[in-house]
Structure formats: structure tokens, C-alpha cells
Symmetry: C4
Subunit: 238 residues, 4 copies
């Protein structure tokens, strides 16, 4: 029962588990490939693994394409496009010049979204987002406004004291982002008394605005879980 | 139905959407203007856009002024004052010397509050604030007390070891702010054993005091949403 | 009604509001006094204000002492002790050598607790603490254990690479504190691959353990508010 | 009643309290031992305390072993293994060469888990984890994916500008970890405009994903408390 979603499709067989594992390995291989002092042997191994992965995904894509009930309908579905984007860069990069298309390889990350595909629990998150949508959007807007006001304010206070770091309002936004998210790298911070007091005020206002949506989403998620269970018990009664 | 609030005023027509877009563009233009290496051509474009915006807002202001039901009553309303403050600096800065009034341009940020105007969801936030007001104020007071005690304590521990960074209790407050909000820029931190242990104690106490209000507000907001829906269904029954 | 608590004592008259204001001003004066380049005139003003404050608090203390129903019972109450500690350091510091007792002046901060005194809402926080006590204590213990394990672990990984910063497990605890609270001053961080991966694991485990108590306390506080309202409506029915 | 858990075992007698205290002291001693400038006398004292602790734990282990109802069944239980691991390293390290086994001493930290043993409240945490398991795992997976995508993205933006700090995608992961957890040591941060904007986007998405599980677990914990109380009152009725 659990392996099928509402539309009756099989979700988590052994085959799909294997696919997920290969995607994960492939993502690791991609990260590994960027290491600067990699030996030629390792580069070859990684390339062979890449060829194997793409072949496997191509076979899977073609199978899905021919087996989809209205034939070829899969090609136009959301995951059909993602599956195509996951394998296409490989074929293009071997056909034309390798260097120029290298930047397109970032598209290989779309393979990642195949992970999301097999997981039905994402629907719950989607439902939770719908519940708290208005507040989240409003909070997002207010957060952006506070970010803007903080940038303008700190520019006013610190521009003269640190003309390099706080060159313009746009440059000051970097300070606003790292401060309001409490990351605080330490590459830009106020040195004037006014700037420091302003930072205090911004943090008092800003911390709430940045952190509240988290709580909102958490409560919406538990609400979604409750409504899901209610639906489930209704289905059992029918 | 949704486009009108309780007083029957229209809230979100296409016109108002356009106004919001222009305000946003204007705010971007203001940030853009502070870039140090801006060409003369761009400065001119930005000035023309400023003139256009202010003209538009002036027309809007006059229309609202004459169309408000008890004529001119708009001038004394909250948003009437904000709308006036959004356009006034422009006329003053062209009349008198430009340089001296430049600092007043920060007032142009009041235009931002026009964004808030068109959004009725802010009422919900206001309601949530009323629900948790007492706790939020008390928590704010306790947070300030902790901030003060932390400043005095770290001054005691670190004044001798770092006389520059921890010059006085007032200077130590900057450390207290960046530490209790967990920003931690890295421009001021304890180096003595006592100071480090004190930081640990302050963080254990302080983190809760700084972070709890967030949770309080989030729960109050969901409570406000629930009471709003109850009100809404009552209105439908009537 | 609201101005009296359960024992029928008056809580917030104008007089008490004035006292609170003076306490606040006194705290500011104490912070101001530590400024290094303060002129003689200002120092005198601050001293006069100190004398005035202590006189006022002394009169208040004596009045409370004689007016408490079982006479002098006030002296043994919690706030009686705090009130005494708030004025005693002044008399001691003028009697004996000033320099030696200066460190005792930190005790003047006990004046701060007078602020807490007039506020009955603290009872609600106390109640919330009782509700979530077990979880909070358990979480505190687990947090300390994680702190310890993190310190031992990072010492193992980073001791050789950075013998200065990670001298011993006790020195490594400073890193653990600044990392688990996400302050991250930047004075101590791992540089080895093992240390970085260990930091990742510690953060994944530790963030939850540090942050969950906040949520626990917030929910306990709203529960306390609910039970308070239930009590209040019961009282009205009687 | 409270001192016995469901299986009727005594949980918190005076003896067990003493054991806990000794474990705590032993953990402190272990941290103290790593101090670089420790005198010979202190080293000896610490060694004697170590011998005393291990003897005590050995006696306790043997007692438990012989007194467990199906005799020796204790040896195969979870805590039996932990108790053995807590004393075994001492005997091994004295038998063979001391230096080589020193690294195994980290195993002595398993003694720590004895602390967990006496505390039945951990069952509640276990129950809370079961309630929110699915969401926590899903959130963990999404967090890892975001971490990966953030690493690849920042590598793309910053590799050229800072080839040392962002050597490879694997090196960039350190930046992703310190940024998404908002620790922000300041040893690696973006300097290019693209990298800074990417950091902003990552933080907006990532903060929610990192922080929501905390809220989820807090709500699950209060749910577990409620169901525990319901169970408890049912037991009383029977």
C-alpha cells in the first residue's frame, strides 16, 4: 500500500532505490572532480562513471517514454523535462567543443531533482506552504523592506568612516544580509557610535522578522500533518 | 469582496499595483544613485525618473485630497502625512541649496511606507502583537537588562586585558549586542579565561531571552489567524 | 483591580513608576562613569546623582521596614535583602578605603532587581518554567554533554595543527561554546579536513539541542497564559 | 513510585547519584589532563583518581553481571556493553604499551553514556523523535541537498576570485556549512558581487530549512508529553 501514491504508481521499489544511490554517487563524483590536484587515473575513473550513469539514465528515460500510457506523454511532464535535462548536457558536450559547454555542466545538478521525484512527502510541505502562504509572503516583503532600510541607514552612518566597505547603498546591502541573518563574517561591520547603535536597533527589529516565518512554517506543517491524518481516516471509513 | 476592506474602500486595483511598482523602482533608483562611479548620463536618467515619480505622486496626493469625503480630511490622516513627506523633500531640495538638504533625502524613504498602505494583512500582525503584547514588552525589558548586566560583567573581566576594545561599559555594550544576537563579527571578543566563561553563562541565559519572543509572536500570529477565520464565518452567517 | 496582585498589595502607583525611572537613570549613570575621558565636572554630577539616589532608596527602605505588617519582617524578605544590597555598598565604600571596595560596586547592579520587583508578570514566566522544567533541565544536561564531547573531539582533530588555539580540552571548550551558539567570532576555527567535518556533525546535532529549549519555553508560556485566563474566569464566576 | 520505571527497576537511589557525580568528576579530570603545563604532582593525583574510578566501575560492573536475573544477561544488554567499554581501555592501556593505546582513551568518553542511563526522561525524547521522524528525515535530506547546491554554486562564483579558499566543491562545502548554520567564522566568505547575491539567496532558502526542524521537534515533544500524561491517567484508572 505504502509503495503506491494516489495515482497508483509504484514509488519505492528496489530499482528506484538503486537509481537514487547512483544519483547520489554521481553528485559526489561531480564534487570530487573539481579537486585541483586530481591524478589522471582518477579523472578517467570519474569519466567512466559519468558515461555509465548517463547511459543508465538514458535507458530509463527511453523506457519511461515508451511505457507512459498516452505514449510520449511523459516527455511533456515536469519530471520528463528534468530527466531530459539530466542527460542532455552530456551528449551536447561530447558533440560540440568541450570547453565552451563546460559551464552548462552545472545543469547536471538537475539530476538532483530526481531525488525529489520519488518522495511523496513533499506534497505535505506543499500543503503547509499553502496554509501559511499569505503570512510568509508578507513576512518576506517586510524582511526585504527592513533589509533595504538597514542598508540605507548604515550607508548614512558608515559611508564616511569606511568609504571602502560601505561604498554605496548596494554595497551596504551585503552588511545588511550578513547581519540580519546573524552570520556576521566580520568583513563589514560598523565602527562609528551611530552605526553601532543603528545596528542594535536593526537587529532588534530584524531578528524577529527573519526568524518568525520559520515558526509559522513549522506550525503550518504540523497543521498539514493533522489534516492529512483526518483525510486518511476518512478514506478508511469509505 | 476581497478587494475592499471593512470601510468599503477599494484596495488593490491595477492603478495601485502600478503605483507600488513605481515606488519599488524609485527605491532601487535611490540605492543605485549612491554608487560612487556613476556616469553623468545615468545620473541624468535617475534624475528624470525622480522628477516623473514625484509628479505622479503629487497628482495622486492632490486627487486624494480633493476626493476625500469630508474635503481635505485626507491631509490630517496618517497616510496623508506620509504621502506628503514622500513628495515634500523634492520641492524643498530644488528651492533651496541642494547640498545642505541632501541629508533630508533620507526622508524619501517614507515613500516606502506607501507600500504598507495597500496591504490589509498588516492588520493581522497588529492583532497578533496585541495578543502577545505583555510578554513581548516584558521580554524586551528583560533582554535589555541582560544586555546591561552582560556589558558591565564583560567590562569587569576584559577591561584590563583589552583596554582599547572594552574602554567602558558603553563600549562593552557593542560586544553584548553582537554576542547575544549571535552575529559575532569578530571585532570584539573576550580573551581572558574569566571573560570566556562569563560569555558562556551570558549566552546560555541570553539566547533564550532573545529567541523566545520570536516563538511567542509566531504562536500569537496563528491565534490571530484562527480568530479572523472565526469572525469571517460569523459574518457569512449573518 | 489590575494594580493589586493576589495579596492585595498596590503594585504600580506613580511613586513606584518614579522609582523605576530613577533606577534606570542610575544604571545609565554607572555605565557612563566608566568612560575613560570623562571630565571632572561630569564626574561630580554623577557623584551627586549617586548620593541623591542612595538617599532616596535609603528613605524608601526605612519606610518599608517600619510599615511592614509584622514590623521588620521586610528585612528578611527576598526584596528586603535586595533593597539593602542596593544601598549598602555606597555606605561601605565611603567609610573604608575607596579603591579597594571599588570592585564591590558591581553589587550596585543588584539595584537592577528592583525593576523586577514591581512587575507581576514574572509570575507567569515562573509558571511556564515549572511546566517545562524537566525538559529544560534534561536539554541543559544534554547540551553540556554535547559541549564536552565537541571539545574533546575538536581537541583531538586540531591540537596538532593549531597547538596555540586548541591547547587543551578546556581551551577547546571556548571553540565549542562560540560554535554551538553560532556566534562564531572567528578567533578559533578548525583548519584540518577532519576538524571541519567534525564541526559539521557537531553543528547538525548541536543546533537542535541548543535551539529546542527556546521553542519548549515559548509553548509552555502560552500554556501558562491559557491556564491563567481559565483561573481568572473561574474567579469571576465565584 | 517515581524512582522506578516500567520494568520495576530502581532508578535514582543515593548510590546512583554518587556514581553520576564520580563520572562527572572523571570527565573533568580527563579535560584537565590535557592542559599542557600541568605539574607532575597533579598528573599523579589525576592518575590515582583514574585508578579509583575504574576500580569502582569494575566492582559495579561485576555486581550487575552476577545480580542480573538471567545470570550474565547483563553482558549482552546495551548498557552492559557501554559499562564494559568504560572500563576496558584502562586495563588494555596498562597491559600493553601506554603511548600507542593513548588514542583509544577517547573511548573513555563512553563513560559519559552512563549518565544517560539513569534518566528515564530520554524515553520521551525518543517518542517525540518517532512522532516527527518523517519530517525530520525529509528536512535533513533537503538540508543536505541545499548544502550541496550551495557548495556547487559558490564554487562557480568564487573559484576564480579566491582560488585558495574555494579550491573545489568539497572545499566550498566548509563555507556552506558555516554560512547555513549562521556561524560565520569569517575564514571563508564571498567577495564577488555574484557570490554575495548567491549567498543572500542561499541564506533566505537555507535558514528556513535549517531552523524548521527545531520547531518541529519542539511541537513533537509537547505532543509526546500530552500522550504520556494521557497514558499515565489511564494507568491510574485501571
Amino acid at each position: 500500500m505504502k509503495l503506491r501514491d494516489r495515482n497508483g504508481r509504484i514509488q519505492f521499489g528496489r530499482w528506484e532505490f538503486l537509481i537514487q544511490l547512483i544519483i547520489l554517487l554521481n553528485l559526489f563524483a561531480f564534487a570530487f572532480e573539481t579537486l585541483p590536484n586530481l591524478s589522471e587515473t582518477w579523472r578517467n575513473y570519474l569519466y567512466y562513471f559519468e558515461v555509465f550513469t548517463v547511459s543508465l539514465f538514458t535507458v530509463e528515460y527511453l523506457l519511461r517514454l515508451f511505457l507512459s500510457r498516452p505514449r510520449f506523454s511523459y516527455a511533456r511532464s515536469f519530471f520528463g523535462v528534468i530527466d531530459l535535462l539530466a542527460i542532455l548536457p552530456f551528449y551536447i558536450s561530447t558533440g560540440i567543443d568541450l570547453r565552451a559547454v563546460r559551464s552548462f555542466r552545472l545543469l547536471r545538478l538537475f539530476q538532483l531533482f530526481k531525488l525529489a521525484r520519488y518522495n511523496s512527502a513533499i506534497q505535505r510541505f506543499h500543503r503547509a506552504f499553502l496554509i501559511a502562504r499569505e503570512e510568509l509572503i508578507l513576512f518576506g516583503a517586510v524582511a526585504l523592506i527592513v533589509l533595504y532600510l538597514a542598508s540605507v541607514g548604515i550607508y548614512h552612518f558608515e559611508h564616511e568612516a569606511q568609504p571602502e566597505v560601505f561604498q554605496s547603498v548596494l554595497h551596504s546591502m551585503w552588511w545588511a544580509v550578513t547581519t540580519l541573518t546573524t552570520v556576521g563574517y566580520g568583513d563589514s561591520f560598523p565602527v562609528t557610535l551611530g552605526g553601532k547603535f543603528f545596528t542594535f536597533v536593526v537587529l532588534v527589529i530584524g531578528l524577529g522578522i527573519v526568524a518568525v516565518p520559520t515558526g509559522l512554517f513549522a506550525s503550518a506543517l504540523s497543521q498539514a500533518r493533522a489534516s492529512e491524518q483526518a483525510e486518511c481516516s476518512e478514506n478508511l471509513r469509505d
